[in-house]
Symmetry: C2
């Protein structure tokens, strides 16, 4: 039996001792002035963003296991932006990176299956088969319950893919509904977490983690600790490290005793490092330096 | 003071005595064989879908107030599909229709503002301003709470747009989480509904309805009745009529005493009418006939 996607991701994290993910939330504003200046159209902006991403990937693919591409930052440049998204996804996979499409899609079953075809599965036009935006994992929102999640899980199984369901995202107001307690004693985020653990059960791999993960923010360490207990077979995608305020110490509760169980995203902290922590360096060199800093910061908290 | 979007939509519904929305969930499979047969690529499929939509719009724009374009059905054809989405949105608006982009976007604040720029507001590339997918309304998912909704509401105000927040969608498992009761006695869908009513307050227009609407399925009449009471200033976008099993009688609880307060979507029931209720007719004529049937069905239940 060949290893499944989540097993391969965990093996690569073990090998690099690096559970970090570089978030390509590439706003045009993040680009260096010399790349921005000549741009006039959405097409110009999208091409500059693509080039920026390629150079970031070239300088980091050997030291990180995965990238997360936030589609909102591409959709805002329209159709041209989505070309940049597609090209970035394809390029990162060619370089051997695991690609998480951060798309937070959700809908009723028949419509969810369209989204799933777009990002995980494939679509037929007469006899020809296409995979329009071929991600490894995508993020999804579970507010609609099981029949909105099922089509994704089917493609996860059929195409060896994965999903991360929003359970306790990193934003400040996430608790407004998610931390409210139901009559049965569970909060909404705990109820969502239990469902996610259940949805993933048939896909548990050799390290004990399933292909149905959960988004759990580094900014909510108490909730993360509860969820780690409730969801022993669920891989966490952890946003909120760095620019949003989450520290390596905050998020170490997401990991198990074998230093596994989570991948940690940093976006602005890496891709705009040339403006901040590594000012004065070229943007791609600065990103590599910031990615190494992040690896060491996480390593100390999680492995030591 | 000029009328705001929601006022204009309600006025047009009053004029036509027709609160219905044609859902352009245009899967390639829905096209007549002669349009499908020559297609080999995603580009071919997307162009055929666009032509199908244009002909549907041409045959219905004078008798309906609005269309809802479900982006998942376009995303599954990749970048080319999103061109078809953009072209459909622009064409429908040129014909005077109100356009609802059914995108169910959601994210943390900074990222939600990217989505909002894509569909409601605008984006700058140096000095040039673009509106990539210029919808009137979009649907959004409120699982992340207020700071994920705020950026949309800001653009609603600044650009005279609207949103519909998922409260009680039409799918069978929507109750799995949404119908669970919190300790304070409210279900999740009621809590979401109260927040939506609150978020819309500053935008209430001359008919008493705000620009922050709610998605409330025709398949859940009991819940819809509760929500109509809880959310007196919230316009409902009602999916689930027709193909999904909701009837005109089920959804009349969504309307107020002035026959206002909701718009009702039908997708497959209209756009595939040439295969079912109006078999034998050309697809666009069949769609018009089905749209007239729907208007009369709703009229009897709501106005009489």
């Amino acid at each position: 039996m060949t290893d499944k996607l989540t097993d391969r991701l965990i093996a690569r994290i073990d090998e690099l001792k690096n559970p970090s993910v570089v978030g390509l939330d590439t706003s045009f504003d993040y680009l260096p002035d010399d790349m921005k200046k000549p741009c006039k159209t959405l097409e110009d902006a999208a091409k500059a963003i693509t080039e920026f991403n390629y150079r970031l990937i070239d300088k980091t693919f050997d030291i990180i296991p995965a990238v997360k591409v936030q589609v909102a930052y591409y959709e805002m440049y329209g159709v041209e932006g989505l070309k940049a998204f597609e090209n970035t996804v394809r390029y990162a996979r060619e370089k051997g990176l695991v690609v998480i499409g951060d798309v937070k899609r959700n809908d009723i079953g028949s419509t969810a299956s369209c989204y799933s075809k777009a990002y995980l599965g494939s679509i037929k036009v007469n006899d020809n088969v296409f995979s329009p935006f071929p991600c490894d994992y995508i993020t999804v929102n579970g507010y609609l319950g099981e029949d909105g999640i099922k089509p994704f899980v089917e493609d996860v199984v059929n195409f060896d893919k994965g999903i991360f369901v929003l359970v306790k995202p990193s934003n400040p107001s996430s608790g407004q509904l998610q931390n409210k307690k139901f009559e049965d004693g569970n909060t909404l985020f705990e109820s969502m977490g239990k469902l996610v653990e259940q949805w993933g059960e048939p896909t548990i791999g050799k390290y004990g983690y399933s292909a149905v993960g959960a988004v759990v923010g580094a900014t909510h360490p108490r909730e993360a600790e509860i969820l780690r207990q409730l969801m022993p077979h669920t891989l966490f995608l952890v946003p909120g490290y760095g620019a949003q305020g989450g520290t390596a110490n905050d998020l170490k509760v997401c990991f198990d005793d074998n230093h596994r169980g989570a991948i940690v995203n940093s976006s602005r902290g890496i891709i705009t490092a040339y403006k901040k922590s590594h000012a004065g360096m070229k943007f791609d060199d600065a990103a590599r330096a910031a990615a190494i800093d992040m690896q060491q910061d996480l390593y100390k908290a999680i492995y030591c």
